[in-house]
């Protein structure tokens, strides 16, 4: 990526994203409490996730498995890892330290491919435990101005993978695409349900700007409380503009954590920096290192599902469409179907179009590829018009059934291509002068004459012929 993208004239936007994904394991990271959203407060707790005196953590093997899977999907290097304590006081932290991974994380040095083919580097993806949840009383329900708070530890100890990107992102759209793609990968892997609105996926953005051409990075701010993909874009753009505005008047942004206020469309300063960020990391003495073997990694690689980028690539190759044009079908999870349908002989481009436009977008496809293929083949061969094909499809979706049978039942005579050609030949033979003109005509004139011949064929077939098929036959005949 050598070409500089300007955020505003003369200014470049630099964004790195930290995404936290709650893992969809049955139990928490370090204890056997249920990992489930929506229960009565403080009912999924035990001595360990409450941090009671004397309690000890034991690592959830599935969480480690999921983390490695996610790492390999992001092309990371999976390494031996060590848990560490990150020490700071906050009421949602039962132990007033968080068990996380510090200088020896599970995954490092990966990359994520965006739909447009560009890559964003992944610095690391590590395991850690989630905190409890605070709700604030008094004020307007936000922490600023609250008189007191209530803490629920059901979420404390839920396994998280934190994915940290390199500061490679240069536009708000790219940031949104990154989050979206990461979400799709995570869903494809089945390691998280990644719902931003429920908090099982959380995005923090590190935003800075610099004058185009300046090699060093400038002060960055961390933006939290971004609750949707749309907010990712809004928050980043707002913050970047805020920085530029400060520089423009000879000031500069303070390095700090800020909160995105969706309602007012702005960021606000968060904790003051008087509170030093000295986390006093040290290796967690209650846990021992994790050392995955080459076999472990090979097993994980072998079991990786096809990921969105590969799916897009596959579909683009098969259909000859541009990568951008296959995204919708892949996102809906309908690409396997297209591949199967094309695999039994249907025209790829037509199949893609029909699947994209005519199948319910939000459901998995229950039709048999053979049947769908047959429908596409019939349409491609001119046996059905586009309209007729849609009607047959609707019937297939509602009541099932075989396209040929449905077409027959609906009286859509399959104009076998041979039969159609015979009719066209007949019309040609009956109009030799017009045909001679047609053969030597330029495109414009041809169009007009084509209409005449098509009309004749329609009369002869009582409207059963497919206009395009007729045009095709005419063109073929003229080329001989």
């Amino acid at each position: 990526m050598t070409e500089v993208i300007e955020f505003q004239p003369g200014w470049e936007l630099i964004v790195g994203l930290e995404v936290h994904c709650e893992l969809a394991t049955k139990t928490k990271m370090f204890c056997g409490c249920r990992n489930e959203f929506g229960h009565e407060p403080n009912t999924n707790v035990c001595p360990t996730c409450l941090g009671l005196p004397g309690s000890l953590p034991v690592v959830n093997g599935s969480a480690v498995e999921y983390a490695m899977r996610l790492g390999r999907a992001l092309q990371c290097t999976v390494s031996p890892s060590v848990f560490a304590r990150k020490n700071y006081f906050y009421p949602d932290m039962p132990k007033d330290y968080q068990v996380t991974q510090y200088d020896k994380p599970t995954n490092t040095a990966g990359k994520l491919e965006l739909p447009d083919g560009s890559f964003v580097g992944i610095t690391r993806a590590h395991l850690e435990e989630d905190t409890g949840k605070t709700s604030h009383q008094g004020g307007d329900g936000r922490i600023h101005g609250a008189e007191s708070s209530l803490v629920d530890y059901n979420r404390a100890g839920v396994p998280l993978v934190e994915i940290v990107s390199e500061p490679d992102i240069r536009t708000a759209d790219q940031a949104k695409a990154y989050v979206d793609e990461l979400r799709k990968i995570v869903l494809a892997l089945g390691v998280s349900d990644a719902k931003m609105e429920e908090g099982s996926m959380r995005v923090d953005a590190n935003v800075s700007v610099r004058p185009v051409g300046e090699p060093e990075f400038r002060t960055r701010c961390e933006i939290k409380n971004i609750n949707s993909i749309r907010s990712v874009g809004r928050a980043i753009e707002h913050e970047a503009k805020r920085h530029i505005a400060l520089y423009d008047v000879g000031e500069k942004p303070t390095q700090e954590t800020r909160h995105w206020d969706e309602e007012h469309g702005r960021t606000r300063a968060g904790r003051s920096k008087e509170n030093s960020d000295d986390y006093r990391y040290f290796d967690e003495p209650d846990l021992v290192p994790l050392v995955p073997t080459a076999d472990d990694i090979a097993r994980i690689d072998a079991a990786l599902p096809m990921l969105p980028a590969s799916r897009r690539r596959r579909l683009a190759e098969i259909t000859g469409a541009a990568a951008a044009d296959v995204t919708l079908v892949v996102d809906r999870g309908h690409d396997d179907f297209v591949v199967s349908v094309v695999g039994v002989g249907a025209d790829a481009k037509k199949t893609l179009t029909r699947v994209e436009n005519d199948l319910p977008p939000d459901q998995p496809i229950t039709l048999a590829p053979q049947s769908f293929a047959q429908l596409v083949i019939m349409e491609t061969a001119g046996e059905l018009t586009a309209t007729q094909a849609k009607q047959v499809l609707a019937e297939m979706l509602e009541n099932g059934g075989d396209p040929k049978a449905i077409a027959a039942a609906k009286g859509f005579e399959a104009m076998a291509s041979g039969a159609l050609e015979a009719v066209v030949d007949g019309i040609i033979a009956a109009n030799p002068a017009d045909w001679a003109e047609f053969v030597v005509a330029d495109d414009k004139a041809r169009k007009k004459l084509s209409g005449f011949f098509t009309g004749q064929v329609m009369k002869a077939t009582q409207g059963q012929a497919d206009g395009r098929a007729v045009a095709e036959v005419l063109a073929r005949r003229a080329a001989r």
Partner: protein
């Protein structure tokens, strides 16, 4: 000092299991002794009179019904008050946990219950196990049963005193830098720190996680062996628990020491050790030699740095382990308009001076810019100590040293200067840093008539060998006892 013949755990269990004595009568006997001498000694934070009698009745009922009441049926056990006991206050001798009732039992407590043992009380300790005299308890010190003007040692002073005063034949303590062995030595009882990972730490209120171990106090080596067999062995709730069953000890006790190579640690047998303690050490070595062991001098050069490494590592881990006492979920809360202030006021009111000192020391040792110089370096010193032990154990099967540099000192004698107090641990700390087992065996008295203990050290999981030598020393003491 009255020479009172109090029953051992082994003899009590045999009688109760055999139906020749009721558990109730056992508990009543011990409660009577407690009533008589506990006011002067203050071994306990809490005596569980009613609970113990009820548990005794349950044991008697089981025996009457022909059910197996367990290997320690009817045996009273005192538990250091940093071991979680469900529904029973567990205070760590701190105001910050005064009255706190855990909603769960420590694994060792559960194993004891299943064995038929009867918890007779929670014993006093230095607050959060930080100390060597039990003078740092928020609820007043414990006194040495042999001389009430003297300390019992610490931090498990209450457990050591309880056994020495025959309030219970067995007790559990915890040992992070010597907190079982040193009070055992000062009180004239057997005290064992097992190999790190042999006994589950689940339910032990953490002080320094990579050093803490729970271990037995007893009046005899056999009793200590039996208790360790019961509480030890893999626990899936403790990730640092060794994946093996408890070591088999009782069966090997009589094997003797013929042919064993035993090394006296040179660095701990000279300067800094009181002459009378040294004299007992050499007598102990002679006993072992007479019994067939080969005695020589061993060297653990890095042991000299053990104290320094320990007083960086232990406080560092402690500063993190004690962060959870913030007034939010349990324990003392002093109200304030903000949570941060509430944390501060609660912790300031709840922690004693030594705990605060160690928290600050530990926080400093871990803080930005100092990690490499302090905590990081101390962890490397630890490796050097382990390496030195490894070299020594190429030459020797067991090592020998004093447990404590002196006999019990007077209450108040060492409280003015923390460093002076810390020096009590020079003999015991290296084993904690190496994770290796060590035990203190009573061996005579000092010039002041106060008990002296000698320390046996073994390589990882070397408990069986260690206990064999302990049995030999004990037998010799029995022969020469008054």
């Amino acid at each position: 000092m009255t020479a009172r013949v109090a029953p051992t755990a082994v003899s009590i269990a045999a009688e109760v299991r055999g139906g020749t004595r009721s558990a109730r009568s056992v508990v009543e006997e011990h409660l009577a002794r407690i009533a008589e001498r506990e006011p002067a000694i203050h071994a306990f934070n809490l005596v569980l009179r009613d609970e113990a009698l009820a548990a005794a009745d349950a044991v008697d009922a089981a025996v009457a019904a022909g059910d197996d009441p367990g290997p320690l049926a009817g045996v009273p056990v005192a538990l250091k008050d940093n071991l979680c006991t469900r529904g029973v206050p567990t205070t760590c001798s701190s105001r910050i946990l005064e009255g706190w009732r855990p909603p769960y039992d420590a694994t060792v407590v559960e194993r004891l219950r299943r064995s038929g043992a009867i918890t007779i009380g929670k014993t006093n300790l230095d607050e959060f196990a930080m100390g060597s005299s039990t003078e740092n308890s928020a609820f007043g010190p414990t006194r040495n049963p042999h001389d009430l003007t003297k300390v019992p040692g610490g931090s498990s002073g209450g457990s050591a005193a309880a056994v020495a005063a025959n309030f219970a034949p067995l007790a559990l303590g915890s040992d992070t830098g010597g907190s079982i062995r040193q009070p055992a030595s000062l009180c004239g009882v057997v005290g064992v720190k097992p190999t790190y990972g042999v006994v589950s730490r689940y339910g032990l209120v953490a002080f320094a996680s990579s050093l803490d171990q729970i271990g037995p106090f007893a009046t005899t080596v056999h009793d200590a062996a039996l208790l360790l067999e019961i509480i030890g062995g893999h626990d899936p709730l403790d990730s640092t628990s060794i994946p093996s069953p408890a070591p088999s000890l009782v069966d090997v006790l009589d094997r003797g020491v013929d042919g064993l190579r035993i090394g006296i640690i040179g660095e701990l047998a000279g300067e800094g050790i009181a002459p009378d303690v040294l004299a007992r050490l050499h007598e102990a070595a002679n006993v072992l030699e007479k019994a067939g062991a080969i005695i020589d001098t061993a060297t653990i050069p890095a042991a000299m740095y053990g104290l320094s490494a320990y007083y960086l590592i232990a406080p560092a881990e402690a500063s993190s382990n004690l962060a959870r006492y913030d007034g939010v979920r349990y324990g003392l809360r002093v109200d304030a308009p903000t949570t941060a202030e509430m944390n501060e006021l609660s912790r300031t009111a709840g922690f004693g001076a030594e705990v605060k000192r160690r928290i600050m020391l530990g926080t400093y040792a871990l803080s930005a810019g100092y990690y490499d110089s302090y905590y990081g370096k101390a962890q490397k010193v630890r490796t050097l100590i382990i390496n030195d032990f490894a070299k020594a154990y190429e030459q020797f099967d067991l090592l020998l040293s004093p447990t404590s540099p002196t006999t019990a000192f007077a209450l108040g004698a060492k409280t003015s200067d923390p460093l002076t107090m810390y020096l009590n641990d020079i003999c015991t700390i290296p084993s904690n840093l190496a994770g290796q087992p060590a035990m203190s065996v009573p061996f005579g008295v000092g010039d002041d008539g106060m008990p002296v203990g000698v320390q046996l050290l073994a390589p990882l999981q070397g408990e069986p060998t260690m206990f064999r030598a302990a049995a030999v020393l004990e037998a010799a003491m029995k022969e020469t006892s008054r």
